[in-house]
Amino acid sequence: MNAYALLGIKLIGVSFGSMAVGLLFMGLGRKVTARIQRRMGPPFYQSFIDVIKCFTKTSITHNFVMDLGIIMALGGLIATAFFIPFANFSILGSSSVVIVLYLMSIGYLGMAMGVSASGNPNATIGISRALALMMGYEIPFVMVIMAMLITYNSSDLLTYAVAQSNGIGSWHIWKYPLGFIAVEIAFQAMVGEAPYDHMIAPAEIASGPMVELSGKYLGIGFLLHAVQLYVETGLIVNLFLGGASSWYVMLVKMFAVYFTTLSINAVMARYRIEQGIRHLWIWAGSFGLLQLIYTRIWG
């Protein structure tokens, strides 16, 4: 078999692997949230069951754009997952953080397009808020990444991960503390958890984009969230938490990031959209800016 076919098979493996990891995290996360709320919670494999169930049910569709959009969304996110180094190993060789950031957008765009085509205004309102929020968290995030970029003169995530592999003292969390704070705040918005869960906003806009999804569409929507978790926590681990040398350390670190997110989500309420963006700009933004200025001038 030639190299391309082998690579293709590996990539398909990564697709399903990322989906599995994400679903696992989602299931564990529900358990964690339940325990915080002093409940038992569903079993940790619950999300797998949910997704499989969704795929077996009949679904409704409004038009071809919905189908296209949903497929494009998950496709884009899975493509992004290919570029995240897992345990200091990058399957495609290059893992430029710029590609990751922009390729994630196609996931967003596809989902936005698909759910807007359903014709339900709730979905569109959710999307418009999500996009507006994106403006809020992308700026601090990008500022911190630029700080790292000009230090290492490279935008490759693998480079960052490898640079942190000299034990816990070499992690970027100590080297870019202000940046880490900024990214943590922005991350909360990136994953769509409280206080920045505007996109879903369950009680307000009837789950936002998910409102018209059913059956396999909903299943894909779940998978979207799953892969998004994989990608985003993987991003944070590679950027700040030192990458990992083995797969279980990687998974543990990724889940640790998600755990923090969940904990904050469980105890906080939601901001209004303009408050949310403003707080992101003011708090995450200023930390990010300080980090950038510091790195630019003295770094």
Binding site: H62, N63, A79, G119, L149, D156
Partner: protein, 626 residues
């Protein structure tokens, strides 16, 4: 194919355009289309003939000996090629667009404009450049106005700013001539580069004058507010040409004159900020400001053409930042983004024109759901906005990535932050356009709308293919750049057909496109093995058990389109938007008051007499004071 082809490319369209003034409209559009095919053909064969030039000498007492020279330089040919290819596509589009109901009489003027464009890109001396530039200006004014008062108001705003720039250019040309004794552009570049070391003030004056001219034409700050009027009010098929090609004249000028001057200046001659000479840094900041302003204004507009015009302003800001870095990567990125913008903005405006053609609507919130009835138009618009947002695997990502790489090379992080803001903001308004026009609920008024006519669809399909090609195989475009870079005094960049190399990393675009396709394949597989799907009507939505029709909320009102981002308007209230516009309006009013004051002297006889006395006093004062 001799060098006599060069004046043919310039003069034939102008003369033919004049001739067309007396011919019927339908025939005009056919002639326009056919001549564009001829021109495109000629231009593409020019490249293989190597360096070619055509000179024409004459002497006038006032100007001395003038050697007018039309020549094919790498940069000029590049712009000529892309603009003639784009014009060909637009002329094909216009052929179907200008049927009995929608026809405008602009074809003769447009053809003259094409000739002027060719003249601008072929001119090697300032006199030919200036003549073509002015011809381009007034013909485009009449096209934008196309016989409507409101459109003309938009056009005259554009023309006033542009003419102001042209006058600055006239001053610059004369200063250069007095300094070098020659009208040739290349000797002007060399001399100014030398003067940056020896006669700094003179060189900066000349550079500023030319920069004003080129800034005004390319709608960079502080001349950024004319596209939203001009592009929006222009005839719909012409808006694509305006946004795609005409806004690039200023970029061409900057690439022709300003950037090479700084490239030829040895390092350390002029003080630099962040590794970039300070005048170029100021240009970068102004361009970044333009991007930010364009983005914010676009987010809150309700008119689809104005929105896209502001998007053009933002994109030209990117191009300006790219070339202001002065590196080969930046120069290449600017050219790449020029091509990409031409394609995706052309596609977007073409699909908007198709929508207007079929529905007659221009306000976005009155449309909706058109994707279900006009799929080709929808796909063109979709690919256009994906490219505009800079998302791989389409072309916009490649050029934006290159711009950022150029910025990172020079460590200009604050400019990069502003550009990222503009980039993210682009999502907002681009998606808004997509949703409000093409997605959501389809109004019963438009249920019978048909797809765009065949030639219009064909040109849109071609544009889509081009966007994809430039995205997946960046080398198709970037491979041309190395000649241009070397000619401008910069180092060549490393590119292959599939990948681009930047300052921090390299990207294999084909790989990205392929893995995306693979991932989509995987998801498609999942989709197919999933359960059955049932088709339901658009209005059959989750509405918490209520029926919207009970409250007279039909598809029109159910469609979420108006004032899309109203919740976040307050976030930007601190921004002093519109300050520059107010400044220009104030200047205009001042001139009116001055004029009224002067004409009021003749209101009665005593004032006349006193004016004489005033005159005498004025003479004495000036004579003694100076």
């Amino acid at each position: 194919m001799t060098s006599n082809m060069l004046p043919f490319i310039v003069i034939a369209p102008v003369l033919l355009g004049l001739l067309m003034l007396s011919m019927p409209k339908r025939l005009n559009w056919w002639i326009f289309f056919l001549l564009n095919i001829v021109l495109a053909g000629v231009i593409f064969t020019l490249k293989s003939k190597g360096a070619m030039s055509f000179t024409f000498q004459w002497t006038l007492f006032g100007t001395g000996k003038v050697v007018q020279k039309l020549g094919v330089t790498p940069l000029g040919w590049f712009f000529l090629a892309i603009s003639s290819a784009a014009t060909l596509l637009f002329s094909m589009f216009s052929l179907d667009f200008n049927d009995k109901k929608h026809s405008t009489a602009i074809a003769p003027l447009w053809l003259m404009l094409v000739g002027a464009t060719n003249g601008i890109f072929l001119s090697q001396d300032w006199i030919s450049f200036f003549i073509s530039w002015e011809l381009m200006s007034w013909t485009s004014l009449f096209i934008i106005g196309h016989g409507k008062t409101s459109s003309f108001k938009a056009g005259i705003y554009y023309y006033a700013l542009s003419f102001f720039g042209t006058m600055a250019m006239m001053a610059g040309i004369w200063l250069l001539f007095h300094r070098t004794g020659s009208w040739e552009i290349s000797s002007g570049v060399l001399k100014t580069a030398q003067d940056l070391s020896s006669h700094r003030g003179f060189a900066l004056t000349v550079l500023s004058l030319f920069t004003v001219a080129f800034l005004a034409k390319s709608a960079l700050f502080p001349f950024h507010m004319w596209p939203q009027m001009a592009h929006a009010e222009a005839p719909d098929d012409f808006s694509a040409y305006l946004s795609g090609i005409m806004i690039k004249y200023g970029v061409y000028g900057l690439l022709l004159f300003i950037v090479p001057v700084f490239a030829l200046t040895p390092r350390g001659t002029i003080k630099s900020i962040s590794g970039v000479p300070w005048p170029m840094y100021i240009l970068a900041v102004m361009s970044a400001l333009t991007s930010v302003i364009g983005t914010v204004m676009a987010i809150f507009t309700n008119d689809m053409k104005k929105l896209m015009a502001w998007s053009t302003v933002a994109n030209v800001g990117y191009i300006g930042v790219g070339l202001a870095t002065g590196t080969s990567l930046g120069y290449a990125a600017a050219m790449f983004h020029t091509v990409n913008h031409m394609m995706f903005k052309g596609g977007i405006f073409a699909s908007l024109a198709a929508v207007k053609y079929r529905t007659g609507e221009r306000e976005m919130h009155r449309l909706g759901g058109l994707a279900y009835v006009m799929p080709i138009t929808f796909f063109t618009f979709l690919l256009g906005i994906i490219a505009a947002a800079g998302i791989p695997p389409l072309s916009g990502f490649n050029s934006k990535w290159m711009i950022f790489q150029a910025l990172f090379e020079k460590k200009m992080v604050f400019v990069a932050t502003a550009l990222f803001f503009a980039s993210t903001g682009a999502f907002l308004y681009l998606f808004r356009g997509l949703h409000t026009i093409f997605l959501g609920q389809l109004s019963p008024r438009f249920r019978n709308v048909k797809e765009a006519p065949p030639l219009m669809s064909l040109s849109m399909i071609v544009l889509m293919i081009l966007m994809l090609a430039a995205g997946i195989f960046p080398g198709l475009v970037t491979g041309r750049f190395n000649d241009i870079l070397v000619a401008a005094g910069l180092n060549p960049i490393k590119t292959t057909l599939y990948s681009m190399t930047g300052s921090t990393t390299s990207i294999n675009s084909t790989l990205v496109a392929s893995v995306f396709a693979l991932a989509v394949g995987v998801v498609f597989f999942l989709f197919v093995i999933g359960g059955r799907k049932r088709r339901v009507k658009m209005m059959d939505n989750y509405t918490c058990g209520e029926d919207p029709l009970d409250w007279n909320v039909g598809p029109d009102r159910y469609h979420y389109g108006y004032d899309f981002y109203q919740p976040i308007k307050g976030l930007f209230s601190w921004m002093p938007l519109g300050v520059v516009e107010k400044g220009y309006n104030a200047l205009g009013r001042f001139m009116e008051r001055l004029g009224n004051l002067v004409t009021s002297i003749s209101a009665d006889g005593t004032r006349l007499g006193w004016s004489f006395v005033l005159g005498v006093i004025l003479i004495i004062v000036i004579g003694v004071v100076k």
